[in-house]
């Protein structure tokens, strides 16, 4: 059955190619088969791509889940300090954090710009200001 369909599609493709090369018109049945076959090819291509995306997605989801589980395990294993108040939200430092200033979700260029604006608004030289952290308020 599948072989017959494949052969029919191949024949239709050959007829279509020949007609196009010669500049002839396609017959209506050949055009119908070409249209159905073409639509099927688009579906085939995108369904395969969908399967590939599901596979890669599943891999990354499982990797993230493992990383999360490892993080939680590490937190539980660490000795708890009952007297010290726990930080409200633990955030990863953004790349570009240097010196005493802690940057959260803020690129170093934007941090530099913010510091310059603050210094300008306060009419205070930048070297007299002490920034502790810069965080984007979402």
């Amino acid at each position: 059955m599948f072989d017959k369909l494949t052969l029919a599609a191949e024949e239709a493709t050959e007829v279509a190619t020949e007609a196009a090369t010669k500049g002839e018109k396609l017959s209506i049945p050949d055009a119908a088969v070409t249209a159905v076959f073409g639509y099927a090819v688009v579906f085939f291509g995108l369904v395969i791509l969908m399967i590939v995306l599901y596979c890669t997605g599943a891999y990354f989801k499982s990797r993230d889940a493992k990383a999360k589980a490892a993080d939680e395990a590490a937190k539980k294993a660490a000795p708890a300090a009952p007297s010290a108040p726990a930080p409200a939200i633990e955030q990863k430092l953004a790349p570009g954090s240097a010196g005493h200033v802690k940057l959260f979700d803020v690129p170093d260029k934007e941090a530099a710009m913010i510091m310059a604006i603050v210094a300008d608004k306060m009419q205070t030289p930048l070297n007299e200001l002490h920034f502790i952290s810069i965080k984007e308020v979402k």
Partner: protein, 406 residues
């Protein structure tokens, strides 16, 4: 100097004389058409970035190229490109002849003919597109595939109306709602129809907010339109970087004829996502995209020479193009309804209409219709998945048609 003789020579060489002799009236009609297109682009804002250029290219070619007249100073020469495509002519596939004898628009058109501009536009589209919604919900690809229905129905319709296979394939791709893809395929298969197809494709893309909503309301119930979809998962940076590489490898291996379009689309997207080529991504999204848009618009407009454009075929193309757009919307909505049923009512079928690849216009229409039914509905990000899937789907459809008819 004989003043009268000089005046007569000037008159003989003047376009005013050509306008009122022989087939000059056709040029006059095309000049009016170009003014209408300019109005639509400037006043009505129909895809103005391209339509204004196309309209002005149309104006320029019809002011300077008169069949039977002196074409030495014409900006675009239809006859040179006919020779270029004639296997028995000495100038067959000779870009040298075009460079030697062509006008400004002939030279710019080489970029269209060689498939350079549409591919570069795709590079810019890739750099501007966030494939995250598609990666988060790969089922969107089914909607992108379904929305190519109009391409193949219009192809079939064009064959029934007497077009050849090459012409029908070029007309059908209008249903992909993707201008660069339509231009790319038409220059390869039926360059004599390029002007009509490009104008139809861009006009209908601009009219999507008017074409799609009635079909969406007709094919979906109020209850279906009200469905609020769950938020999609967050996609990691690594997934976004791997995605263009996987798509390029897979689609190009499946259909090598899609290589220029898919290759450029995915390269642009990789530049955007990889995080180490911000300068290139920025250039491709802005400067390069704008430069190519200038060249593409004006040179596509140049193909609307009166003797080619004013024919019954143009009217048929306009009707078939509209049919293609409508059926592409229908295809996406029908598969959207199937997904709604299969998911137990979790998927809003309105996102199916965004499978036509006009990005982001079609997704915005899904969002607007969804919000009309339920003001708390935010479908935009869900509709972006099928929308960008449609770009890949239309490129695959074009690749198939190119492989069959080239």
């Amino acid at each position: 100097m004989d003043i009268l003789e000089t005046l007569e020579t000037l008159w003989e060489g003047s376009g005013f004389k050509s306008l009122f002799t022989g087939d000059g009236w056709k040029n006059l009609i095309m000049i009016l058409v170009s003014c209408v297109l300019l109005y639509l682009g400037i006043k009505k804002k129909f895809e103005p970035l391209l339509l204004v250029g196309i309209a002005f290219g149309c104006l320029l070619v019809n002011l300077s190229y008169f069949v039977g007249g002196d074409t030495a100073d014409a900006l675009y020469h239809v006859d040179l490109w006919d020779n270029f495509l004639d296997p028995e002519h000495a100038d067959y596939h000779s870009y040298g002849a075009i460079m030697a004898h062509g006008g400004l628009l002939d030279i710019l058109y080489i970029g269209v003919k060689a498939g350079v501009y549409p591919s570069l536009i795709f590079m810019g589209v890739g750099a501007m597109t966030d494939f995250g919604p598609l990666i988060a919900n790969p089922k969107s690809l089914l909607l992108g595939a379904a929305a190519q229905m109009g391409v193949f129905l219009a192809f079939f319709g064009a064959i029934c109306l007497g077009f050849t296979g090459n012409e029908a394939a070029s007309i059908g791709i209008i249903g992909g709602a993707d201008g660069p893809t339509a231009i790319f395929l038409t220059t390869k298969l039926a360059p004599h129809l390029l002007g009509a197809i490009a104008i139809a494709a861009y006009s209908y893309m601009a009219l999507i907010p008017m074409i799609q909503p009635p079909i969406m309301r007709l094919l979906t119930t109020e209850k279906e339109r009200q469905v609020k979809m769950e938020q999609a998962r967050t996609v990691s940076k690594t997934e976004k970087i791997i995605f263009p590489v996987i798509v390029a490898m897979f689609v190009i291996l499946l259909l090598p004829s899609t290589a220029p379009l898919i290759g450029c689309l995915m390269l642009g997207n990789l530049w955007r996502e990889c995080g180490v080529t911000e300068r290139l991504s920025d250039t491709v999204q802005n400067a390069l995209m704008n430069i190519v848009t200038v060249f593409l618009g004006i040179s596509v407009g140049a193909t609307t020479a009166a003797n080619r454009f004013l024919s019954p075929e143009t009217l048929k193309i306009i009707v078939l193009g509209l049919t293609a757009f409508c059926f592409s919307t229908v295809g996406g909505l029908l598969v959207g309804k199937i997904m709604y049923k299969l998911s137990g009512g979790k998927i809003n079928p309105l996102i199916g209409s965004a499978g036509v690849s006009a990005v982001p216009m079609a997704a915005r229409v899904s969002q607007m219709e969804g919000q009309k039914a339920n003001p708390k509905n935010f479908l935009l990000m869900h509709a972006m998945g099928p929308n960008v899937a449609g770009v890949i789907g239309s490129a695959i459809a074009a690749g198939f048609l190119l492989a069959v008819f080239k």
